[in-house]
Amino acid sequence: MRQLPELRHSLLWGPAVALALGACSQQATSVVTAPASPAAPMAATPAPAGPAFEIPVEYYTLPNGLRVVLSPDHTAPTATVAAYYAVGFRTEPRNRTGFAHLFEHLMFQGSQNLGKAEFIQLIQKNGGALNGSTRFDFTNYFEVVPSNKLETILWAEADRMRGLAINQGNLTNQQGVVKSEVRVNVLNQPYGGFPWLDMPQKANKNWNNAHNFYGDLKDLDAANLADTKAFFKTYYAPNNAVLAVVGDFEPAEAKAWVEKYYGNIPSATPPPKPDLTEPRQEQEQRFSKDDKLASKPALAFAYHMPERNTPEYYALIMLDQILLQGNDSRLYQALVQKRGYSDGVSGGINSDLGNQFNYNGPMLWMGSIIYDPSVQADSVVSVLDQEISRLAKTGIDQATLDLAMVKIRSAFYDQLSGSDNFGRADLLAAFALFDNDPARINRIEDEFRKVTPELMQKTIREYLRPGNRTIITVNPLAKS
């Protein structure tokens, strides 16, 4: 590939590029959508559905409230540990935008038995890799190590669940690092923050869902040690967390280690539940954003999603497949293949920050496109309207549903595999954290099979109506 930047994606941290988990091949987006014309028959008759694929799931709760998910997978001699805390950027303090993410950085700055940088060194010298990330409804920490080092990692992750030991120097240092992160991912890039950071702020009305969660630089500067103590105490208790272990291990052994290292971490008063509700949107909203670093106009659209886990939610995931995912999708075919407005259209549900499963509150279905000045924003919007109303008018037949289903299944398998097993750990942890039911991982396909053409129609009418959407256009101010 020519070295083209990935729009809307953060800079990869170098060494990971080499791994890239084989992903040069597969775009994160799943495959996609619907035939506009009858497709040529396949050369061969399709085989029956692929081999049954069941994920082992063992789930239990320690007396201190820590929820634990174990899922053995002996494909490669690696083990993955993921600690998920039920706190994300929706729940950070009002005068401290960006704090949930800043705090995530602080979790690497020292605990009782591991000084600054020692956690990272411990993982690395044991042949492992690690990362952490902050999302709408959780903050996660994960490591992948050779499976013979699982106990070492469980011990280390417990050490910081037990408490942090950081000083003003560490805090100041990470404030600098996080400000650099915001600069590199947002401020010094064309289309910085578009649309992933901009759209929630415009489409949502409730501050929790609608503030700048990367953080205003002045808020990041204002954070102090007292804030970090209070934040840890409120959110970082075992009863507000899930620990997922996936990979090459023996469950009995893993259970004993979890008991040994996590069993006596004290629980805390559960944190307050924030009100995340959003009012039903009645009127379309449009916004324009000047971008002095961008040389081409762009447009993003977003619709409020149905509530998670309702029948309409599953229907909308299927609509995303039909409309937006992959080169066969209605929008790709209409905007790219047929009209040549752009070389691609991207987006999805919780796109850029996760997937359709790992969140727990109001969410947007979003898409975006960068095009030439010769194209009018209104032309893009009218294609969007045409494709949605075509679906509404002509209905969705079983063949279209089947196509969406096969794409969902295939993308789901991708998520469940990978040498780092991160995708599997992420799903299990999210289902434990939000649904108290990680075994859902084996039933999720059935939920999509229940979706009927009628339900699709109902979902289009209520959720894909113009009054339920927000549009942001980018006004490019840089010279081509």
Binding site: L4, P5, H9, S10, L11, L12, G14, P15, A16, G22, A23, S25, Q26, A28, V31, A40, A44, A49, G50, T75, P77, T78, F108, N113, A117, I120, Q121, Q124, N126, G127, G128, A129, L130, N131, G132, S133, V144, A165, G176, V177, S180, E181, R183, V184, N185, L187, N188, K229, N264, A268, G340, S342, D352, L353, L403, V406, S410, L416, S419, D420
Partner: protein
């Protein structure tokens, strides 16, 4: 491919290792229950549990065959998920373009997605989707690659479809204006990113007029491309001798072998593999690009190095990992975790056919441009003067060994490794003995390698940022450069 990471690093990762390392015996202390959020660490510290003996890791077995037209196929059964990943690599890329047809490989890659003699572009997209599949085609510097994946049961059909795309492309003239417009937009966007700007300047400086050093194609160059040029590039550069088909995942091997054999049998033998080897140069230049009022300086600093066919390569990689190529590396600890100048510093060895280069890359606070360059150089010099301790090196060797396991534990990763062998003409032992070779590197060799390949005075330095603020800093840096820092 990647989700935006609002997090510690900005990328996902993972790893594993091979050798148990010598650690101090661990204290068997009981973990005292402590209140959450301890303000200060309490002594004495506990040591981490050591873990057990490493489990065996063997590279997955593969099956290989060659067709009469010299096309090579490699099949690797792997994993439990009912999916299969395939890649067709054709040694025809930007390096094969003449000076008057820059980006013709990119245009051809785009045209290959526009259908075949028997499938329109839309039908192609739909048929792939019905297999639960994806297909993406791109031109690189040395190769054009087709990556695809699908549900296992459709493996033979996908293999046949990929062959059809390469053997019978429609190359429709009607789509040329649209695809050129797309390419122009993509290049235009790419040129607006500071990271691309810096890398482009750096590559131009060290590779000069060789295709690796070419700037991104201009609108004029793209407008000038003709369908005839695309057709003749296809005819003159594509063929069985330059093509490999890789498959990894779960599949019915006999059916897939048969599908590949019959789908590709009419592919012409085509030209022999040939890549014009670049002779990179470095004069120690400092190059800047003005990005007025940019809040950061985007730094690329580096010089020519070696590629995997060179016996020094593994040493260079271990040295790189210790110096700047891992999260726990010296430069990262220094300019990120100690000084807080930057979020994502990293170094890596970029490899091409029979040549390569090393760079350290970082986006740093504008005011710390001088400081960052100085710290980078001082870490290089420190490593040249003093070998790392055996313990520090062992940690890096474990890390690299762990990464090797990870790289070889996904279908896409396995395919990438095999393609590396083929592209660079490396023996199997490059993979089978890699971990042993990583672990054989000594602390003295790390320093020797740093002295041999890292020459601070000869490094090309590129800084993209606010010239007003960076020029005085660079002046100061240059004034001190020949002296020991």
């Amino acid at each position: 491919m990647n989700k935006l990471i609002i997090g510690l690093l900005g990328a996902a990762l993972v790893a594993t290792t091979v050798d148990a390392q010598a650690q101090k015996p661990k204290a068997k202390s009981k973990i005292p229950a402590r209140p959450a959020a301890a303000a200060t660490p309490a002594a004495p510290k506990e040591s981490p549990p050591e873990g057990s003996a490493p489990r065996d890791f063997a590279l997955p077995a593969k099956e290989e065959f060659t067709l009469d037209n010299s096309l090579k196929a490699r099949l690797v059964p792997y994993g439990q998920v009912p999916k299969v990943t395939m890649m067709v690599a054709i040694q025809a890329g930007n390096v094969h373009e003449a000076a008057n047809e820059v980006a013709v490989a990119d245009l051809l890659a785009k045209l290959l997605q526009e259908g075949t003699a028997s499938r329109s572009a839309t039908q192609l997209a739909e048929q792939v989707a019905r297999m639960g599949g994806t297909l993406s085609i791109s031109a690189g510097l040395d190769q054009t690659t087709l990556w695809a994946s699908c549900l296992s049961e459709y493996a033979p059909q996908l293999a046949a479809l990929m062959a059809d795309v390469v053997l019978h492309p429609a190359l429709p003239a009607s789509e040329l204006p649209r695809l050129k417009t797309d390419l122009k937009r993509q290049m235009n966007l790419a040129r607006s990113y500071p990271g691309t700007q810096a890398r482009q300047k750096y590559s131009a400086a060290i590779y000069g007029s060789h295709p690796y050093g070419r700037p991104l194609p201009t609108d004029a160059q793209l407008d000038a491309l003709t369908l005839e040029q695309v057709q003749s590039f296809y005819k003159n550069q594509f063929g069985g001798q330059r093509t490999s088909v890789y498959v990894a995942g779960r599949f019915d091997a006999p059916a897939l072998r048969q599908a590949i054999g019959s789908a590709w049998k009419d592919f012409p033998q085509g030209p022999a593999p040939r890549i014009e080897i670049a002779k990179p140069l470095t004069k120690g230049d400092v190059l800047t690009l003005d990005r007025p009022s940019a809040p950061q300086s985007t730094i690329v600093v580096g010089l020519p190095a070696v590629d995997p066919s060179n016996p020094d390569f593994i040493r260079l990689r271990v040295m790189n990992s210790l110096l700047g190529g891992s999260f726990g590396s010296r430069i990262t600890r220094n300019i990120r975790e100690d000084k807080g100048y930057t979020y994502s510093p990293y170094s890596y060895v970029e490899t091409h056919y029979r040549t390569g280069n090393w760079t350290e890359n970082a986006d740093v606070t504008t005011a710390d441009t001088y400081n960052s360059l100085r710290e980078i150089m001082s870490e290089v010099e420190r490593l040249q003067k003093t070998p790392p301790t055996a313990e520090e090196l062992q940690g890096i060797q474990n890390y690299e060994g762990g990464m090797f396991v990870l790289r070889n534990s996904t279908p896409g990763g396995i395919i990438g490794q095999l393609n590396t062998l083929d592209l660079h003409g490396l023996p199997e032992t490059y993979l089978t003995e890699q971990v042993r070779n990583i672990n054989a590197v000594t602390p003295q060799q790390v320093s020797e390698t740093a002295r041999k390949y890292m020459r601070p005075e000869a490094m090309t330095i590129v800084v993209v940022g606010d010239k007003k603020q960076i020029d005085p800093q660079l002046k100061k840096f240059q004034a001190e450069r020949k002296k020991p820092l």
